[in-house]
Amino acid sequence: MLPTIKKTVNKLWSGVALTLLAALPALGLAAPQMNMTQGVTDISRDTYGLHMTIIWVCVAIAVIVYGVLVFSLIKYRKSKGAVPATFYHSTKAEIVWTLIPFIILIAMAIPATQVLTATYDTSDAKLDVLITGYQWRWQYRYLSGDGQEVVFFSNLSTPQEQIDNKAEKGEHYLLEVDEPLVIPVHTKVRFLLTAADVIHSWWVPAFAIKKDAIPGFVNEAWVNVNEPGIYRGQCAELCGQQHGFMPIVVKVVEQAEFDAWLAEKQAAAAAIAELTSREWTQEQLIAEGQTTYNTFCVACHQPTGLGLPPAFPALSGSPVATGPIEKHIDVVLHGRAGTAMAAYGALLNPIQLAGVITFERNALGSNRVGDMVTPAEILQAQQAAQ
């Protein structure tokens, strides 16, 4: 019986929404989404059901309360000669309007408890993904399964020109990333959430999941998606200046497609691991580093290595880039807190890191130190720091 009521109720609501929306084209506006999404998981549907039920409870109460209010405002106006009554209390009324809401609340609490309990049941997941929030990007690490570990960052891919209104905004403006999270459909996937710096919150409305990613904590959430597709969300906890620019994109695919994707990712990761452990010459590293420098560092430190002082210091001739190499590695891996110099240790792979450091010491500006650092050494430094 309950589902049928829900259905009629939902139809009613769509009716109301539609009538409201019908007015919009007249104003030259496209109809925007106005209600919560039903989403693509059982939990998200249940959540939507709770949301609609409580809305209708509120509407019913509102009709009565506002009804009596409006009636009184019309009927008992002084200007129409209304004479005030003298009653000023009624224990019976007070009891009635304390008890009725109380009963309604209990009726509401029961289904809410059921749904909540279900969202907390993270057992028997087939796949575990560790999600780490960084200022201001998400990192996804696939934990289950054997073989090479797959881990990557997911960055906003909307071009800055669109944000600065210098280019036309694309369809998925601010809700697009370079590399989405990929998970299989019809599979229980468990997310473990944490953060590397401040608190973030991972939210995909279509899954009805919003869970804080907190440094030093590991939170859990789970999803079992019913329909393949691309689902978008955003960081939901203020996390600094780029908080509005760390979207989430999840690509849900068939199991076979997922397996193929994972295998490919594992192969690529294995290739990097293999490259990391192999022998490198200084020339090879400089060549590798040149590319990395031009992609990641050039904007601040400039092609000449002279930087833009005082905002961005010169690396050519700098005591760090020409002094003991440990200091240099440390700055690049961990950044300098409170300055524009970010920690690149998590953003670049060991080959890129070794390359860019060797390049900066031997081929940038006037620097000719003559030493080098290998990807394997970088890896060691990173493991030692953990």
């Binding site: 959540t47 409580i54 009554a85 309007w97 109380f102 609490a109 809410a112 904590f217 939170n219």
Partner: protein, 525 residues
């Protein structure tokens, strides 16, 4: 104590010039200063809000950087909560509580002076951060660690001291209000005869006394984390970022009732006056207020449903939060029962009070929705929450302050305000506020997070609408300033009763109220 507290200059008027305001211990002068200060902060905080709404008028970054945007949201919240709403209610308390209970002044007049004069300096210090190299605080008015500690701009220290000063001011103010109400009531003014505004303020003052030290504690812990190497909130040092949220919201949740309970009092006075009928269910109003105050201490973690609390915690806070709907409902039903079979007229204070009942109830409905923890996962930190708390704070707290101003302005100034302009102000505000905040419900449900300077294209239409509402509402407040100044300078003379349905001691003294009232206590039948 009550009678042993006379001054020598009882029958003199106020001192002349600036020293009147600097040295005054008169509750009416201090009330006026609180109210003027609050109005100034309301305009300042409103300006910050308009910067926010201007930036959000269209997608893309138009006017400000994301960092400055965050400074605006932070400063808007802090200034409105601590600078506009709270001082306004303290101002009303100063003016009205002694006159409502038949006391000659506040119980601790010199402390009263001090609690006011701390405030301008606190806000000067807070506002000065806008001009610092590091920029103003940018971590939201809820200042979650570690964003507000390890990752904060260096101006955070000024923010912490400003919060300490506001806290000291509030604590002294609340001690004063408690001392006044408990000791200086005229003979015969028993607790259950006190006007509801006095009752709600008494309870509010206790709430303030209980939670302002907690706020002071949490900012002090931040101060130590930032400057003295402790790790209360840093996981790396063995601390706990979630602890911050527990402590903050243990203050923060009662704080929202601190901002609404006095509003309940104001509205109860006004609804009864303009319905020309005694307030329905006075006793149950007192009990409901007390239960709300009690419940406000055990619901704090409903602000933290997404932090990953254990299931049992989640359930407890969900049930406790749902319970708040019961006493809140009782209040609304009582107001409506007061109007029912009354003889209602629609002067400006009544218009604002009716709008309060309607729109605060809207905020109550969305509050009930937010209590449902699984649904809250979808609402939390979206514009739905923004819409919810602005509905309870703006057409709630702020409308009640405006209602109170129109209601008592004739008593303060001796002149009637311009009724037509007052009604115009009401309708502009009413329309503005709904155009501003109603669409934000839709934005939140459709998935727009709060505190973002730029947004995806599907949110564009409602944001534009909301910004239009913001500018209508914002600029209508200049009309309010004009009306108040106009009434202060002259106008139709007010009688002592002012309103034909008025009741209570404050209406037995002449308008404007003399500098000293009730030097001899009135007799209450």
């Amino acid at each position: 104590m009550a009678t042993g507290h006379g001054h020598d200059d009882h029958h003199h008027g106020p001192a002349k010039g600036i020293t009147r305001w600097l040295y005054t211990t008169n509750h009416k002068d201090i009330g006026t200063m609180y109210l003027v200060f609050s109005l100034a902060m309301f305009l300042l905080g409103g300006t910050f809000a308009l910067v926010i709404r201007a930036e959000l008028f269209q997608p893309g970054l138009q006017f400000v950087t994301p960092n400055f945007f965050n400074q605006m949201t932070t400063m808007h919240g802090l200034v409105m909560v601590f600078g506009a709403v709270m001082p306004a209610f303290v101002g009303l308390a100063n003016w009205m509580i002694p006159m409502m209970i038949g006391a000659p002044d506040m119980a601790l007049p010199r402390m009263n002076n001090w609690s006011f004069w701390i405030l301008p300096f606190a806000f000067l210090m807070l506002s000065s951060t806008l001009f610092m190299d590091s920029g103003a605080p940018n971590f939201g008015w809820t200042f979650y660690a570690p964003l507000s500690t390890t990752y904060a701009p260096s101006s955070v220290t000024f923010f912490i001291f400003a919060v300490h000063m506001m806290g000291v001011s509030s604590i002294m103010g609340s001690i004063n209000i408690i001392a006044t109400i408990q000791n200086l009531r005229a003979p015969g003014m028993t607790y259950m005869k006190m006007p509801l505004f006095v009752w709600t303020w008494l309870i509010t003052a206790y709430l303030l006394l209980a939670v302002m030290p907690v706020l002071a504690g949490v900012v002090t812990m931040m101060l130590f984390d930032i400057h003295f190497g402790t790790s209360f909130f840093s996981a790396a040092g063995g601390g706990d970022p979630v602890l911050f949220q527990h402590v903050f919201w243990f203050f923060g949740h009662p704080e929202v009732y601190i901002m609404i309970l006095p509003a309940f009092g104001v509205v109860s006075e006004i609804v009864s006056t303009f319905s020309r009928k005694r307030l329905f269910g006075y006793d149950s109003m007192v009990y409901a207020t007390s239960s709300i105050a009690f419940l406000s201490f055990i619901v704090w973690a409903h602000h933290m449903f997404t932090t990953g609390m254990p299931l049992a915690g989640e359930l407890f806070f969900m049930y406790a939060t749902m319970l708040i709907a019961v006493p809140t409902g009782v209040k609304v039903f009582n107001w409506i029962a007061t109007m029912f079979k009354g003889s209602i007229s629609f002067e400006t204070p009544m218009l604002f009070a009716i709008a309060f009942v309607v729109l605060f109830t809207m905020g109550g409905f969305t509050g009930l929705m937010l209590a449902i923890s699984p649904a809250d996962f979808q609402y939390q930190d979206t514009y739905f929450v923004v819409a919810h708390f602005h509905y309870v704070l703006v057409p709630g707290a702020v409308f009640s302050i405006m209602a109170a101003t129109y209601y008592w302005l004739p008593k303060w100034t001796g002149n009637m305000y311009d009724e037509n302009l007052g009604r115009l102000h009401f309708w502009l505000s009413f329309i503005g506020i709904n155009v501003l905040f109603f669409p934000q419900h839709f934005l939140g449900l459709a998935g727009m997070p709060r505190r973002i300077p730029d947004y995806a294209l599907q949110f564009a239409d409602f944001n534009m609408l909301s910004s239009i509402g913001a500018f209508i509402f914002g600029f209508s407040q200049l009309l309010f300033v004009f009306i108040v100044i106009k009434a202060a300078r002259g106008g139709k003379k007010a009688t002592a009763e002012v309103w034909d349905g008025s009741h209570g001691l404050e209406w037995t003294v002449p308008s404007p109220a003399p500098y000293h009232t009730f030097s001899t206590p009135p007799v209450i039948k």
